[in-house]
């Protein structure tokens, strides 16, 4: 009899615990979203500031009381730039953390598999900084990007270099990667359509010394050199080009390249004045209220990395999230969030040239690009021309 009572008591306790946890889940009092990026892998240097910018925005938003009194909880996972880790983190966030959407992500190679898995799960994914073709028209379901799609960047850079020189020979440099080849292919076709001639140097991802590659580029007698790669390569290539005798314009395609990297590279190259920078989001040297707001938040909450355009990129994504959740209302489901994002228009004035604007067919929308030049004496970047609006790819993807 005593055993029966104990067994019943135990069963009752288990049932009560289950009921309690179910209640807790349904009574979740905040928006739970996921963020996945590379915080410890080879490109952590580029992706960490983007995360920090996003985190700054969410902190400030929560301090203001959140959205309709509901706070935003961000579940952060590090993919170490590995696709399998990114997929595992996404699944974990969906199944265990019950997130309604996933944001961030790192390199294009990690995005594809996450997009695929999250399509199956019906979870909207919005990437920043790097982006892949899935978001471009005809966009795939649940796959969005508010960052840099390499094909678009390649074309935008091709158009913007007319602000440097109206004609001549452009030499594109990149390392042997999917993103690099995509960018260079569209850059090539755009500059050729504008009357420039084109040549390119593609080097291996692991490179011991950039000098031979720089010399190969210089041998092609360029009028403009464009570098389609990350921070480290710019630090190596710019001085190597100058050592090899090239003194002409060099364009940094901002794929996670911070202003500090450009400063360092220009300094290494002997206080270089002829270094340009093309970015989708503003630089920290831009004087406008939006940049000042991010700078104030950075001062208030602090960041581990020097304040850069990557922080502004992350902040813009934060603003995107706020608009999406506001439009979604409370409670917000994955399906509802996805529906909302499909027609979302977010004002990010000051952080880029125009709004981030999605449509059911185009999950990237118009993007705005600007050319800056490094002013060594003022130690800052200055805009050269206005924002360029890119609405669609001019050339088909090869």
């Amino acid at each position: 009899m005593k055993r029966l009572v104990l067994r019943s008591l135990f069963t009752a306790l288990v049932l009560a615990a289950c009921a309690l946890s179910a209640n807790l889940a349904s009574a979740q009092n905040s928006y739970v979203i996921g963020y996945i990026t590379d915080l410890s892998g080879p490109l952590a240097d580029s992706y960490t500031p983007t995360w920090e910018g996003f985190e700054l925005y969410i902190k400030a938003l929560n301090d203001r009381g959140g959205i309709g009194g509901k706070k935003i909880d961000v579940v952060l996972d590090d993919d170490g730039l590995k696709a399998d880790r990114a997929v595992a983190a996404a699944k974990k966030q969906v199944e265990r953390d019950n997130v309604i959407g996933i944001f961030g992500l790192s390199l294009s190679s990690t995005q594809g598999p996450v997009y695929v898995e999250m399509r199956k799960a019906g979870v909207p994914v919005v990437t920043t900084f790097s982006g892949i073709l899935d978001a471009l028209p005809p966009a795939k379901p649940f796959s969005y990007s508010a960052g840099v799609v390499f094909e678009v960047a390649g074309e935008a850079i091709g158009e913007l270099i007319k602000n440097i020189k109206p004609n001549g020979k452009v030499v594109g440099m990149t390392f042997d990667s999917v993103g690099g080849r995509a960018a260079i292919s569209h850059n090539k076709r755009m500059v050729e359509s504008l009357g420039y001639t084109w040549d390119e140097v593609i080097f291996p991802v692991t490179t011991s010394d950039f000098t031979p590659f720089a010399q190969a580029a210089v041998e092609k007698k360029p009028d403009i050199v464009v570098g389609h790669y990350g921070s480290g390569q710019n630090l190596g290539v710019i001085p190597a080009l100058r050592r090899s005798g090239y003194t002409g314009p060099y364009v940094v395609a901002s794929y996670g390249v911070t202003e500090d990297t450009v400063r360092q590279a220009a300094q290494r190259a002997g206080n270089d004045q002829n270094v340009y920078y093309v970015t989708r989001y503003s630089t920290v040297y831009d004087s406008n209220p939006a940049v000042a707001e991010v700078a104030a938040a950075q001062k208030k909450y602090g960041t581990s990395k020097p304040f850069s355009s990557m922080h502004l990129t992350g902040w813009a994504l934060g603003r995107f999230v706020e608009s999406a959740l506001k439009a979604c209302g409370w409670p917000c489901s994955r399906e509802k969030l996805d529906n909302v994002i499909q027609t979302l228009k977010v004002d990010v004035s000051g952080l880029t040239g125009g709004p981030i604007e999605m449509s059911p067919q185009d999950h990237y929308g118009p993007s705005y690009w600007r050319l800056y030049v490094w002013n060594e004496s003022a130690k800052k970047m200055e805009p050269k021309g206005d924002w360029l609006k890119k609405t669609a790819l001019k050339f088909p993807v090869q």
């Binding site: 991802v205 692991t206 011991s208 190969a216 041998e219």
Partner: protein
Amino acid sequence: MEFAATVVILTCTYALLAAGIVILYKAGRVVNFAHGELAIVGGYVFYSSGLMAGDESLWLAIAGALAFSIVMGLVIYMTMMRRLVGEPFYVAILVTVGLGIVLKSAILVIWRAERLTIDVGVAPALRLAGGASLSYMDIVSVLLTIAFFAGLYLFFRFTRLGVQFRGTAENALLASQRGVNVNFVLSLSWVIAIMAASLSGVLYGGRAFLSTESVTIGLAGLTAALVGGLDSLRGAVAGAFIVALAQYLTVRLISPVLSEAVPFLLLLVVMSIRPWGLFGTLEEFDRV
């Protein structure tokens, strides 16, 4: 001229790495797969030590890198390699692979995977024909490499310790019976090897950048050592020159994308024709 300068500078970076690998192999029959990691961590330590006093100090940076080489060399030998005496040679290889992973993680944890450059003497010092230039760092790197190899030659040839070192390399048991402090000699081999690796890491950080990916330069050093012969310092220099030349010519004449693969192709060719390397000895190879 530009071509020659680039190949010479690349040769210096690889020769320093290869020399360390050869010294460790000659002294203790260890093929060190963590040499690239040691080089890059040495570069990071150089950078961080220079910043320690708040103001960038070259002397502090050099002292830091030297201290790192000495401490690291002693720690690796005393805590790991010493215990492996008498074990099959592959055990030591596996230990160095593990050591490499730990060092790479240290870059992530201590330096948060930051890409750093060592901007010492980067200003142009010498203008070459065609507008190219050599920096002070480039010139110093060549001079330091020559000094390092000259110092090694004098050390092995004319000092008592150098003779003991050669004796240990020849036959550790016999050397020990003749009163040579083998542990001291082997610790010293690690210290010298890491010193050379750190110097190489510093030079690399001056030409390119330091990051977790940069550890792959260890492969270039290993290839150079294998091509030249694992037990020959002369071979280390020759191997480094061949690897650097092959890389450069591939970039300029074949395809830049293949530049990292060609040295390995070269290695396969050398290994299939002369497995003990160009300057290595057959006896040494047979022992392995």
